[in-house]
């Protein structure tokens, strides 16, 4: 988020209020600070800490949406201390479901959901046909990126960009972009040595 801060703000300036990069950077810095010294192994606590920190520091619509994403992941992870590919698929689906519950967005509304839904679906599809977790992360990142690109011609139906009506078409959605960045980070860290092209 720090690396892409200016890009996110630039995208937001075109169809929103020019604060998405600043807000996500502030939130993720706070998360990193909070996670230092956190015990490993308690995944629910880990996800909950991330969610509550984002809720408290990001602001905007992104705060409660990303906060809810991680809080739902915390609920879905339950008592587990490790996640296999199947477990990740389930946890990701729960998180994305939380984003949809909170924001009421569906596919095609030009929001975070347009990156997150295809990512979770690609992850699940890969796992279902026996693919590895590493491959699933890779495919999820590729799907998220395609989802981001697909937001460009869309007319926004949720969030501040929806006020622009037709004028929102032709711009890449900043929320979908930050969602893709998260999935891409997941792929980089958890998804093998296979580089995901930017």
């Amino acid at each position: 988020m720090a690396e892409h801060k200016d890009r996110l703000t630039e995208l937001d300036a075109a169809i929103g209020d020019a604060d998405h990069g600043t807000n996500m950077d502030r939130g993720m810095r706070a998360v990193v600070a909070k996670l230092e010294g956190t015990e490993e192994g308690d995944l629910a606590r880990l996800f909950k800490t991330v969610g509550m920190t984002l809720v408290a520091t990001v602001g905007g619509a992104a705060g409660p949406l990303y906060g809810t994403l991680f809080l739902r992941m915390a609920t879905a992870v339950g008592e587990r201390s490790e996640l296999d590919a199947e477990g990740w698929a389930t946890v990701l689906e729960a998180g994305v479901g939380g984003v949809q519950d909170r924001g009421k967005a569906v596919a095609g509304d030009k929001t975070m959901v347009d990156a997150l839904l295809p990512a979770a679906a690609a992850f699940r599809a890969t796992v279902d046909r026996g693919g590895s977790g590493a491959e699933a992360w890779h495919r999820a990142a590729v799907a998220a990126r395609a989802g981001v690109k697909a937001t460009i011609p869309m007319v926004a139906r949720k969030g501040r960009a929806s006020y622009l009506g037709e004028r929102s078409a032709g711009h890449q959605d900043p929320g979908a972009t930050s969602s893709y960045l998260l999935v891409e980070c997941g792929a980089e860290v958890l998804g093998s040595t296979q580089a995901v092209s930017r």
């Binding site: 604060d19 809720v55 408290a56 990001v58 619509a61 705060g63 409660p64 501040r160 006020y163």
Partner: protein, 333 residues
């Protein structure tokens, strides 16, 4: 763009510190989390009123905290919603046992953060009624957008509900007055120039020297139409015409007419606008029974104005005239 600040990251905190120093008789300020609280909060047995939103719209909301108006304001960063933990803290700080009304402007961020905060407050046993204000007629109200934005009617709702709460009315009654104001109030704004958030440092949008944006939002969101700058009478006809047709306001109606400056427009121009609005409404048989002229819901240094009309009845007039003692509005006390 030039700013009279020390550092972009410190603006909101330093503004709050300034408010605390300037108005210790009216407010208490918390810096962690950011809150402006009525000095004597919580008031036992009185419904608490909490609002909030991004900073950059001063005097809204912090300047409206005090007797006869808000009990707490939760300022976010500039043009950024406050967070649920912050709103929850404010809700708890002002709950005098009679419940708390959240007055929320209809922006996705504000709505989601207040919604989460209300859920958390209810879990802690506080009665919360949330009312979303969406009075901006520039935005199409359809299933395919986030709906109309909350603008000028928010200021009026905060004053009117504040008076009702001060009279000791119950939670549901105060919330109903807020909904009533939202139903009967309509607004539309325009910009002559852009504005720049301290963090970005450059204009949020570009507007040519000879252009204006009709239907602007208070965060610089583009409006309905961009056109060549026109005389005040034409601008008023465009704004007021859309507003009057929308409710609709009819001959014989009594209204509160609110001419608001966006932050960079001098009062001399706002009175010119008020003059035009007065003539426009008189021609249609609409009587201005009360008025408010000045910069109350702003967009940093943006030049421009908005017009809000609220259809009045006897109850609303009485609530409007009731005493109010805040940094931003003060009369009758």
């Amino acid at each position: 763009m030039k700013k009279l600040i020390n550092a972009p990251d410190d603006v909101v905190r330093e503004e709050l510190e300034g408010m605390a120093l300037a108005h210790p008789d009216l407010v208490r300020v918390s810096l962690d989390p950011f809150m402006v609280l009525r000095a004597d909060a919580p008031v036992r047995g009185k419904v608490g009123l909490v609002s909030g939103g991004g900073s950059g719209h001063e005097p809204m909301h912090g300047g409206f905290v005090g007797r006869g108006m808000l009990d707490a304001a939760c300022p976010g960063q500039v043009f950024t919603s406050p967070t649920p933990d912050q709103i929850l803290a404010a809700t708890k700080a002002v709950d005098g046992g009679a419940g708390v009304v959240h007055i929320v402007k209809n922006y996705t961020g504000d709505v989601l953060n207040f919604e989460m905060a209300a859920e958390l407050a209810r879990e802690e046993g506080i009665d919360v009624e949330a009312v979303v204000i969406d009075d901006d007629v520039a935005v199409k109200d359809s299933l395919y957008t986030a709906g109309r934005r909350g603008v000028g009617a928010t200021v009026l709702a905060e004053k009117l509900c504040g008076a009702a709460a001060e009279q000791g009315r119950a939670l549901k009654e105060v919330a109903d007055i807020c909904r009533h104001v939202d139903e009967l109030g309509r607004s539309m704004g325009m910009a002559l120039t852009s504005c720049a958030t301290p963090a970005a440092g450059r204009p949020t949008f570009e507007l040519g020297d000879d252009e204006m944006e009709i239907g602007i939002g208070i965060h610089g969101e583009p409006g309905r139409e961009r056109m060549k700058v026109a005389p005040a009478c034409d601008v008023v006809a465009m704004l007021a015409g859309t507003i009057v047709d929308d409710l609709p306001f009819r001959a014989g109606d009594n209204v509160l007419a609110f001419v608001n400056g966006m932050g960079g427009t001098p009062l001399i121009e706002l009175y010119v606008v008020y003059r035009e609005l007065h003539a426009f409404l008189a021609e249609r048989g609409i009587t201005i029974q009360r008025n408010l002229v000045g910069s109350y819901i702003t967009s940093l240094e943006m030049a421009g104005c908005s017009i809000t009309l609220l259809k009045l009845d006897d109850e609303l007039v009485e609530l409007w005239d009731a005493p109010v003692v805040t940094a931003g509005l003060r009369w009758g006390a």
